[in-house]
Assembly symmetry: C2
Homo-oligomer: 156 residues x 2
């Protein structure tokens, strides 16, 4: 396997347009969701569930400037979803009265890459832990990244 | 290596709280950004650049119900970023007059997992290609997922 700046490439080559067909990238969780809520809403459902995002100590300095009241995007792994296959390309989600939809028009947890997105409210930050409200992820969910939910930046 | 529902686990075990410490997950691009724009804004900058999201043919059915005018979240790989290390935990982004910030309070392309998020406007869909406006990703950027930018769902 080749080791590159952004992960371990397992197969494939870069073509003339700079595309890296068939390559894959390895992501490693930076933390986990911790909540004792017994019922957590489905992904992208309105939620008032509170809980903690517990980060690896080594990332603590990266959490500075996150403040109570702000909203953050959390990118996570759907770690308990069944493996994706072509049957899940068109699904019947509850939101749309079970109308058949393309998976990319939904927030279904069963998708080609098991990546979830949530928007959470920061309640407070204690060292390597962010206390949040609005959880729609299960206890133990691996967190891959967080970003501020801000307006796009003006060009510089 | 162990093969699981959601990727290939390389190391680690699940602890009593269901967390999978040290595990990593392998993501595979579902498509690529194609644009002939010579200057593409930095990630999360306001952009009027147009281009195409070209998906693998096998995912075409999953693109149904995406319509012109809607906005989509695009989750992608920062494939040309340098490898992350602890020096990049606190950075001096252009947006905030080079004030030092924690990386997770920014949309910096140099982050523990090289995951980017964009919000793009759909111009039209032709089979496995979505024509978009608002690109802030470079030509050849690998796409990992797309999701609708909708309001959170009411609980059912």
């Amino acid at each position: 396997m080749l080791k590159t700046a952004n992960g371990t490439l397992t197969t494939g080559e870069t073509d003339s347009r700079g595309r890296s067909e068939q390559m894959s990238v390895e992501m490693k969780p930076i933390g986990y969701v911790s909540t004792d809520a017994e019922n957590v809403p489905r992904s992208w459902e309105i939620s008032d569930v509170e809980g903690d995002l517990v980060f690896d100590e080594s990332y603590k300095d990266g959490l500075s400037d996150i403040i109570p009241g702000q909203q953050i995007y959390v990118i996570f792994q759907f770690h308990q979803s069944p493996e994706f296959n072509s049957k899940f390309l068109r699904i019947n989600p509850p939101r749309y009265n079970r109308k058949e939809m393309g998976v990319f028009s939904t927030h279904s947890p069963i998708r080609p890459n098991p990546i979830g997105l949530s928007i959470l409210e920061v309640l407070r930050v204690d060292g390597n832990i962010i206390h949040v409200k609005g959880l729609d992820m299960r206890n133990g969910t691996p967190i891959l990244d967080i970003k501020p939910k801000s307006q796009p930046d003006p060009q510089i």
